[in-house]
């Protein structure tokens, strides 16, 4: 775990230096915000992909200078980070890749475009065959854009190589999450969340190696752990971008452990793999489109797959209760709560909805609510 702590402690030092060196050697750096942006394409053109931090209250004020106050803190934070030029990762990026997962993001890209080049991928909002075809076209446009930016062509060889790299990265994360299925989990939810967050910006090969080392350490720990009696909690809902540790910190200060996150900074990032079958770039694009369109984000209608995932994880991770984490003003997830709560009620799984932003003001209230929830379970 020390490696991941080091990465975060040195977040404005070590990795930034690597990005700068990559750029000095003619490489490009591309910023992303969403698990729908295919990292495989970025890696295939020898560019570095960094998931940008948008989890800090620090940038909200600057974000609100150009955006309305009543939109989600994640969008306000990343816009504020760029507008105020206070994040070295944003400053390192040659281009950022946006997507159309929600209205706030969709419109914020227009503002971001005044500050740096932005490429927006139009994510379809349904999962019919024609929508998968649309997404394939979007991936092709993205390949053209990346080839233009880097001067490197996407070939069958380099794309297969990057698909394989991402597959190994996803497997490493899956390995870590599988270990959390033990009672008690050998790793705190906060530490596991940190590993997930680091995954978005770290060098993929090194990340895989360090995550496997951590897993080996945890496997040993599992053998000596005795049941702690702590309540096992699943978190589902909106992403927790670095450095948003608010909910985990509160829940795990009580008699509970978070054992799985059904979020974009959790299972949605690593579930399902891209197949390397096929002999042409088009075949591989088909495989990419199928995998990415299988992510169960609330931006889709209908989104039955997400409820099924929650039920599956509740069983696999043996959870005692679910916390529905909703960033303020994230309407798609907020509306989907109704559906999730109905199904969980039928299955007798306790559910608590927490709607919050990045500020510290409501931490006391959230703690009280979580405490009451844990007592009720």
């Amino acid at each position: 775990m020390n490696y991941f702590n080091f990465v975060v402690a040195e977040i404005h030092g070590a990795r930034i230096l690597e990005l700068e060196n990559h750029k000095k050697n003619g490489g490009k750096v591309v910023g992303t915000f969403c698990v729908f942006v295919p990292d495989e394409i970025i890696l295939a053109t020898n560019a570095i992909s960094v998931g940008l931090c948008s989890g800090s209250q620090f940038w909200i004020e600057d974000g609100e200078k150009v955006l309305p106050r009543n939109i989600c803190p994640l969008v306000k934070a990343f816009t504020g980070a760029k507008v105020s030029q206070t994040c070295p990762y944003f400053q390192s990026c040659d281009m950022i890749v946006g997507e159309t997962t929600c209205d706030a993001k969709k419109k914020a890209w227009e503002i971001m475009n005044d500050y740096m080049p932005v490429h927006v991928m139009e994510l379809p909002q349904m999962k019919r065959d024609k929508n998968i075809e649309q997404w394939k076209d979007e991936i092709k446009l993205f390949i053209d854009k990346m080839e233009e930016l880097t001067g490197n062509k996407v070939t069958v060889e380099n794309l297969k190589k990057s698909i394989d790299l991402m597959k190994r990265k996803r497997r490493a994360l899956k390995h870590l999450y599988d270990l959390r299925k033990n009672t008690p989990s050998p790793i705190s939810g906060l530490d596991a969340l940190l590993v997930s967050q680091v995954a978005f910006s770290d060098d993929p090969e090194r990340f895989i190696e360090k995550t496997e080392e951590l897993c080996a350490e945890l496997e040993k720990r599992v053998e000596s752990l005795k049941p702690s009696g702590k309540k096992r909690i699943m978190v589902t809902g909106t992403p927790m971008a670095l450095p948003n540790w608010k909910l985990h910190k509160i829940v795990e200060s009580l008699d509970a452990e978070i054992v799985v996150e059904e979020t974009c900074t959790g299972t949605r990032y690593f579930e399902n793999e891209v197949s390397t079958d096929g002999n042409t770039v088009d075949d591989l694009i088909d495989n990419l489109a199928i995998r990415y369109m299988d992510i169960n984000c609330a931006c889709f209608t209908p989104n039955e797959g997400r409820v099924e995932d929650i039920l599956k994880y509740a069983d696999e991770y043996n959870v005692d209760g679910v916390i529905y984490y909703n960033l303020s003003f994230c309407h798609t997830y907020s509306i989907e709560h109704e559906r999730v709560s109905k199904v969980l009620k039928e299955k007798n799984i306790p559910l608590l909805k927490i709607e919050t932003d990045y500020s510290e003001e409501d931490e006391g209230q959230i703690k009280t609510r979580v405490e009451a929830f844990l007592e009720m379970i």
């Binding site: 775990m1 020390n2 702590n5 080091f6 975060v8 402690a9 040195e10 404005h12 030092g13 070590a14």
Partner: protein, 73 residues
């Protein structure tokens, strides 16, 4: 919860100490420096109070530069 920290003027010194502690089998945790102690972005090391004397000896022997030992409640 009381925690004991060692702060460094730069991360190289921090890494140097953690390598020595690893060799000596002394447990530690690398942590971001708490804002209460310093506003810099660097790393610090959390250690067990019982190992303090041993760690002090290592720092002296290996000539590691530190900003000091701190305790936070």
């Amino acid at each position: 919860m009381t925690r004991h920290y060692i702060l460094f003027p730069n991360s190289n010194q921090g890494i140097k100490l953690t390598n020595c502690l690893k060799k000596e089998n002394i447990s530690f945790v690398i942590s971001p420096t708490p804002r209460k102690l310093s506003t810099c972005c660097g790393i610090s090391v959390i250690y067990d109070k019982e190992n303090e004397d041993k760690i002090k000896r290592i720092i002296e022997q290996e000539n590691i530069e530190i900003n000091g030992f701190f305790t936070l409640d």
